[in-house]
Structure formats: structure tokens, C-alpha cells
Amino acid sequence: MSGGYNEIHPEPTTFISKYLISFDHKVIAKQFLWYGIFFLGLGGLMALLIRWTLAYPGVPFPVLGNLLFPDSAGIVPPDSYAMLFTMHGTIMIFYAITPILIGAFGNYCIPLMIGARDMAFPMLNMLSFWFAFLSGVVLITSLFLPLGAASGAWTSYPTLSTMIGSPGAGQTFWCVAIFLFGISSTMGAVNYVTTVITLRAPGMGYFDMPLTIWGLWLTAILNAIFVPVLGAGVILLTLDRVLGTTFFLAGASATSGSGDPVLFQHVFWIFGHPEVYILILPAWGIVSDLLSFFSRKPAFGAKSTALAMTAVTVLSTLVYGHHMFTTQMSPLLTQSFMTLTMTISIPSAIFFANWLGTIWKGSIRFDSPMLFSLGVVFVFGLGGLTGLHLGTVTTDLYLHDTYFVVGHFHYTMAASVLLGGFAGIYFWFPKMFGKMMNEKLAKLHFWGTMIPLNGVFFGMLMIGYGGMHRRIYNPFVYDSLKRLIPINEFVTISAILMGLFQIVFVINFLWSLKKGPKAPNNPWEVGTLEWTIPSPPVHHNYDEIPVVKCGPHELGNPNLKTGRDFQYQTEELVQG
């Protein structure tokens, strides 16, 4: 059901209806982008505080230390340390990656790339942002509570997260914030799923959609199914904390019946494992498209890439147990989860091979979006391979809860998604704001991110393999970990470097926004629908709904006689 009814909404005129309570998907996308970049900065600062503490325990944090921790002379205190890694994880996953990759790119790209004038439900879209905003306010408020914010890690396992483990109100605020954010995510999911199914331009079949849209669509489906599971978990946790139920409190089972702390882990990871794919799927989609665009070649096996991503989506719902190998799970069950986890390698290897096939013998243009995309290919390869050690029971029993895990999920979730997000920002910035970004600064930003990033996360893999635990405040009180001090310092210096190079990005972003040269309609010379209209697009996107006649990756066709090496999706496929 594509084509036909797709109305033009009147353009808003007042400041409030234009920028604040906007129903326009492009404005909402930008709201999510600013929101995400703000939290990325906040989460990044927390990461630096954590790293500083691990490399130089007992040394005051430079510059900001005295301001943040006046009572301890600028040294991060142990309780604040637990709070920092909890909030770092929460903020990065829910408040930085989700808004940028799903909120900003989802809202911006879905209607434009499928040739629609807006989302199916513009008002729901607006509410989705403001629920996210409210959730962010609750989370930030929790930082200023008397006993501080949540400190039971982003996974919030009971009993760390019950009233026994976290007596303050911080954990309750955390639950409320996550629940509100879940409402926002599911509202977005309803919108994305419906929009992709019903508002594709006439002629656009599912396999004519850019792979970016495939990634975002699969993400929305996973969001709709699994965010409510976490919702149920945090409701029960909140009831335990506020109203005195005992769902997650262990007790004397024969007399009053016992709650079950491990049940929360099951609920959390039934949601949590799909969540990691919720975060990575949009980045996979973006990278799959960009590799083709900048290699000036059709995406190798685009259909199989889409199907492989679908297969990963399905499999991702069946493997959550690999997070819980050390919870005295039955060996029969651990073996099953291990086998299913290993099965994910097959579709992952398929689209990974397709990525390599796409760039193979391409006439590659090393523009900044391409550099970041190639960065994703590299770091995701490393992240995926280190996942095998953790998905295997025998090695996981040794590596569980070490920095190896931290290194692994940062390679997959942080590095891949961050680089994918930057690739997307550099790629769509001209369309979003009608200005070009500075390419030299962009390249400097790439290398300044890519090299220290590997220093940080590869270093983490090494100290993890060396036996350092994930969440201890000062590892050097243990003699066995003293030999890891130099690597920890190396990781911290890399992290500081990487943090400093993000300033290049912020300057480039803000400067280009104000003073960047005007962007042409199609600066990257690609054929998807959003590049057929002006930059930035008019309020209703398309004066006339486009009719799609070919796929999104028709580049480098030798039969083209138009003087360009690509064709738009609105043009009939040129054949020899």
C-alpha cells in the first residue's frame, strides 16, 4: 500500500509552533540531535572522571575537580564513582545514542528517504520528543538529590537497586526516567513502523528502500516489542522501592514466599540484548548505504544485507541468557544460549562480507562520511570478534565482569555507533541545515577520534584479559592488578585525547551552522530521494510525491549517458 493520500500540513508561523511544539519531523529530528549531543557531552565528561580515577586514584581531577567534589578536594569519592559509571552507562545508551541514532536520524531520514511529507502521526512524534525531554529532566534532577543519583550500574540489578542497596531517591528517579523514556521510544516505534509500511512513495517496494531505512525500521520493531519488557521490570522495581512489595527481595520462602532478585536480570536482559541491536541496527543501515555511495558502486548484495539484518533482529530475541552464564544457570540452558549466540555470527558475517564486497574495486571517495563508515567496519569487526569470547561459556566464566566485557561492548555499542552517528551527521548535515561542514576539520576529527578510540577500547580489552574487574573504585589496592597501572594510564590519556578532539567537532558543527558555505541540493552525488529536493527541504518536503523507479544504490552504471555516474531513484533504470 504505497502512494496516494499524503496531505500537506500548513506551515507553522509562531516561534513556539515552529521550534518548540513542532509537528514537523525535520524539526523534531533536530531537537533530538541537540538533545543527544548535549547528553553525549555530559556522558563523555563522566567517562573522563571514571578514567581519571582508574589511572590516578587519589589524585584530584584537573580543572573541574574542585568544582564538582569540593568536599574531597577534587578527588572522585568512592560513592560518586559508582554513581558516575551508572549514569555514564544510562546517559550514553538511553540519552545520547538513542536520541541521535533513532530520534534524529529516524525522524529525519524515514519520511525524506521514502518520499513522504511527514510521519504517519506527527502529533505522536512531537509527544515522543517531549516525553524524552521530561525523562531527561528527571534524570538530571536526580544528580542533585541528597544521596545522589542511582548507583546500581545501568543494569540496576537487585539487590544493588532495592532500598537495601540504594537507600536514596536516586534509583527511584532512575526508574521513573527510564519508564518515561520507554514511553517516548515506544511512541516513536509506533510511528516509524506505521510510516514505513504505509507512506512509501509509489513504486517503492521494501527492497527499494535505502538500507538506512531497513535498519531504522527493524530497530523500531524491536523497540515496540522489548521496551515494554523493561517497562514491566522498572514498574515492579519501583513498587518494591516505593510501596514495599517484595518482587525482587529474597526472603524466607517457606513462610511468606520469596521474591527473586535474579528474575530482574532475566527481565532486564530479555529487553537488554535486543536493546544492543536497537542501538546498532541504525548504524549498520547507515554504513551499508554510505559504503556504497562513496565507493560509487551498487551495494553488494543489498537484498541479502537487508535479510541478514532481519535475521539478526530475530535471533537477537533468543540469546539473552549469555549475559547470565554466571548466575548458576543450568548447563543445558547455557549451552543452548551459547549455540544461539554463535548463530548470530552467520548473518553478521553475511552483511560484513557484503560491506567488503561493496568497497571492493570501488572508486572510493574518502570524504568524511566515508572515513567514519570505514571506521565502523574496522571497530565493529573487532567488537564482533571479541563477542565470541564472551558468548562462549568456558571463556566467559573467566572474562565475566572484567574490563574485557567493557572493551567489547564499547567497541560494538560505543565505537561503532558513535562513528556511525558521526558518519550520518557529516553526511546529512548539508540536507538538515543547508550548509556544508568543513571537510578538513572533519578529517582531523576522524583521525583524532579513531586513533585514541582504539587506544581506549583495545586497552580495555587488555586490562580485562589481565583480570581487572569492571566496577572497582581503586584496582591498585590489589597487588595482582598493580602491573596494569601503565596500561590504565595509557587508556586514560587516550580517552582525554579523544575527548579533546571532540571539541573540533563541536567547533566545526557550530561554525558551519553559522558560516558554512551554502550546500547544493546534492553535494555527495547520490540518488536517494532526499537529494532530489532543496537543502534544507521545504516544510512539506515534496511538492509532488515522487514516483520511485529504481533502487537506492544505482551508482557507477556503465550504461549511463547523462554525464553523471549515478541515477536518482525517480529515474528509470538505464540498461545496456
Binding site: A189, L239, T245, F247, G251, S253, A254, T255
Partner: protein, 183 residues
């Protein structure tokens, strides 16, 4: 099917899947608590008397029936009739909430407090979460009271969606009634 109808149906389907996942998670937890426990109800507790929950079940099922009739009347463009059935749905929905209130005070009177362990946690927690959704459902019924003035296509879509949500709440209650109170 018209595009607007398709969009409406799809969005409601996704919404109901979300609701179903939330309650499925709760029931999965319940199954684990039940199967891990030697005695159920745990020592010191008795089964809840079935009278009140059965009456609640009766109320919500009849209200579902009226909701169905309201939708059918809207579709055959009989606004007055539809509004009458809508009033009845709303009244029975409120009556359901009232019986839930009685249930909670009955539990308290028989010494089953919120903090009395997992048995009480499930009785209170699950009915609270369901009740919160019923309040949401009552809100959508009130909204229909305002908009059900004509039988335009968009009104019909709204009535259909509210009807689906209301049936969903009835089904969830029915499952709760059998698994928590009867079994």
C-alpha cells in the same frame, strides 16, 4: 482498505503488542514465583475469596460487550444508540474500578498487606498495574464521550481503537482472574 484505516489499525496493533509484552513479562514472573515455591499460597495465607473477583470479571466482560455494541452502532451510523452503549461501558468500567477498591480493602482487612511477601506483592502489584491501564482506558472512553457526536470515518476509527484497547484490558483481567485468583 483506505490508507488512514490501515495506519490506524497498524498503530493500534503495535500498541496492543506493547501492552501484551508488558503483561506477558508480569505473567512470566508469576509463573516463575509459583513454580519455585513449595506451597502456594505460601504458609500463613489463604486463597482470596472468589466472590469479589468474580463480580469484577462479570462487570468488565459486560462492559466489553457494551463497548462492542457501541462500535457496531457507530459503524451503522446510529449516534444516539452508540452514545447510550458508551455511557454503559463507562459506568461498568467505573464499577469495575470500585470493585477493585473493595478488593484491596478486603485484602487489607484479612491481614494481607502490601509488604507481606511475594503472594501479597503479586495480588496488589498486578491488580495495580492493570488498574492503572483501566484508568487509561477510562480516559479514552471519556475522550469518546466528547468526540462521539457524529459518525465520520475518523470518529469510527477512534471508536474502533478504544474498543480494541478496552477488550484488551478485559482479556488481561480474565487471564489474571484465572491464574491468580482461581488457580
Amino acid at each position: 482498505m483506505k490508507r488512514a484505516d490501515l495506519q490506524s489499525n497498524l498503530a493500534m496493533t503495535v500498541t496492543l503488542i506493547m501492552g501484551a509484552m508488558l503483561f506477558t513479562t508480569l505473567f512470566m514472573g508469576y509463573a516463575i514465583y509459583r513454580s519455585a515455591s513449595t506451597y502456594w499460597p505460601p504458609m500463613g495465607f489463604a486463597k482470596v475469596a472468589l466472590g469479589l473477583p468474580t463480580f469484577s470479571t462479570f462487570l468488565i466482560l459486560v462492559s466489553s460487550l457494551f463497548c462492542y455494541l457501541a462500535r457496531v452502532a457507530t459503524q451503522v451510523r446510529k449516534v444516539e444508540k452508540a452514545r447510550l452503549y458508551l455511557h454503559l461501558t463507562l459506568i461498568l468500567g467505573l464499577a469495575f474500578m470500585l470493585t477493585q477498591g473493595f478488593l484491596w480493602s478486603h485484602l487489607k482487612a484479612t491481614g494481607v498487606y502490601v509488604s507481606s511477601g511475594i503472594f501479597a506483592s503479586i495480588l496488589y502489584g498486578f491488580t495495580w498495574i492493570h488498574a492503572a491501564h483501566v484508568i487509561l482506558g477510562l480516559g479514552t472512553l471519556l475522550y469518546l464521550e466528547i468526540v462521539l457526536k457524529n459518525t465520520s470515518d475518523s470518529t469510527i476509527r477512534k471508536v474502533i481503537n478504544v474498543e480494541k484497547f478496552w477488550h484488551f484490558l478485559g482479556i488481561i483481567w480474565l487471564i489474571m482472574y484465572f491464574t491468580i485468583f482461581v488457580l
